[in-house]
Subunit: 333 residues, 2 copies
């Protein structure tokens, strides 16, 4: 492949001049610029990214850290949103893999890893609220950073998330409006930001309707179908049972399966409302709160590009929608 030196020779100018033409710097006569451009075109020349990165410390690359492996149901859509925006702006995506370092001494955190590759910014996704100190250096650094679903900010760091609180509140309010007074909640790991916020929304809606909340009807677990299934099994054994259940989609689906497996049905015996609107939910006709996952990715990418370009970096909170399908019914009394 042609290099800048080849082009310089062919155009009988110095590489400095070629570089100026490439980068549209002033101080090159129109005539020479034309000549250089012609030669570049003839040779299908484009400056080498790596060399460019070395001298500019920029790379037209956005890094992604995703060590927790963002929930399968989410990943693809979020990634697609990121990809769309990055592509449109000419950026590629560097996905940092979990490496097992060869017992080498280096103690590289996210900042060092990112700088070592000269990425222009990073998107952090799939992190829980664990070991927050791991982010200190990154937050303090000048590396443009956007967290997905983790409300961390810094000089050059911000975040995007769905409005989990209001989304959950809408869900539970909807159940209340349908006449439900006994509402259970099954949710994710206790420390997770999203789970915490949704739980607050749950409580807030109940308050609004003057319903006291029963701690026995709140279950925590992993974001796995089994968690919902097991929690529901417990509910089914209770003397006093709730009439409705609020749970993230995959947990809600687990609950539905437990209900059916035990000879009951939805929504006749229990109303169920989910959160997320994952692909699967349609197949269970699950009424749920929709998060726009694609938009989450789009927003994250746009935000990191803004930070890179020194524009405003206010966090982005995406609104959610209530998607009414068939798992909730009105009850009386």
């Amino acid at each position: 492949m042609a290099t800048i030196n080849d082009i310089a020779k062919l155009a009988k100018v110095s590489k400095a001049t070629v570089s100026k033409v490439i980068n549209q710097h002033p101080g090159v006569k129109e005539e020479t610029k034309k000549k250089v451009l012609r030669i570049m075109k003839q040779n299908n020349y484009w400056p080498n990214s790596v060399a460019r990165s070395l001298s500019t410390h920029k790379s037209y690359t956005i890094g992604i850290f995703d060590p927790g492996r963002l929930n399968n149901f989410f990943f693809r859509e979020v990634f697609e949103g990121i990809e769309r925006v990055c592509g449109d702006k000419g950026y590629d995506i560097l996905y940092f893999t979990d490496k097992k370092w060869d017992g080498s001494w280096v103690n590289f955190g996210y900042t060092e890893i990112s700088k070592n590759r000269s990425v222009d910014g990073v998107i952090m996704m799939g992190f829980g609220r664990v070991e927050m100190s791991k982010f200190d250096a990154l937050l303090a650094s000048d590396m443009p950073t956007v967290f997905i679903d983790l409300d961390l900010v810094g000089k050059n760091a911000s975040y995007v998330t769905s409005d989990n609180f209001n989304g959950a509140k809408t869900a539970v309010r909807y159940l209340c409006q349908l006449g439900h007074k006994k509402i259970a909640m099954i949710t994710g790991p206790n420390g997770f930001k999203v789970a915490t916020e949704r739980f607050s929304g749950f409580q807030s809606a109940l308050d609004e309707f003057n319903i006291s909340y029963n701690p026995d009807w709140v279950f925590y677990g992993q974001y796995e179908l089994e968690t919902g299934y097991e929690a529901m099994k417990k509910i089914l054994k209770m003397r006093e049972k709730p009439t409705a259940i609020f749970a993230e989609d995959i947990l809600a689906i687990g609950a539905i399966r437990a209900i059916r497996d035990h000879g009951f049905s939805v929504p006749e015996d229990f109303s169920i409302i989910g959160f997320d609107d994952i692909e699967l939910s349609k197949h269970y006709d699950l009424t749920t709160i929709r998060q726009d996952k694609y938009m989450l990715g789009v927003s994250a990418a746009e935000l990191v590009l803004k930070i890179i370009n020194k524009k405003n970096s206010a966090p982005v909170i995406l609104q959610t929608d209530l998607v009414k399908r068939g798992t909730c019914r009105r009850i009386t009394g």
Copy 2:
């Protein structure tokens, strides 16, 4: 961050020596090596990847092209397999986005794009059998390349795929063994390699059981639920109906939904067998042929690393499994 020059100064040696230590080249006295290593450790130094790439033309990075956006149900798992292997070997993943070039003149194909970023190899996924000439340059180049589900080979190119022919054959044979003689097939776009192979497997199994195949019972379309749904609707209107249907999972699920929506049931009225074993299939209790998507990713990554290391590059064909669930039944007569 410390550079090689800093280390050289601190250790009172030349950067050439530091470089030799880093790369474990011979010709450095044990004593100096120890000293240099100590200084490196003290300064948490690790050589800059970009600079390294520039001089070695290697980057410890695998590129991925995925313009067709590999089927949602596949992408995540395949990607995870790739990621696992790359991570274990110290490679990161560069995901090339679809860029809209700024009307610039450059006419860069996959080869140029890859070389421009100095990736060590590329994995091509989500491509159909369209415009094969786009791959000519890449196949002829020295860029280590692995195609997923596209049987292209070259000096430094190979591929991984599932054994679609035998997988399909197993599926249809299973139906035949259950007594079915009237079998329909719904499949993907006509030009796609995987669709073609599966169709051959379908035919081959029928031959084996001396069953003539009815062209009216073969449907092509996109890999979308609706395709299966619509095809099944047509089947339901036929005077002579098949008793069993073979279709890729998402199409099979579409068919199941159509069957149910029209008041029939599975497997009582129709036996259905799928192909892929996507996440959704469990939820429909779909009997299907399982492709190991994670392993597809693992194999692709391992293969590209082999090519990079000048080891053998024979294509990898993964075997499939019959997963018996509840959508097929034995019929008599």
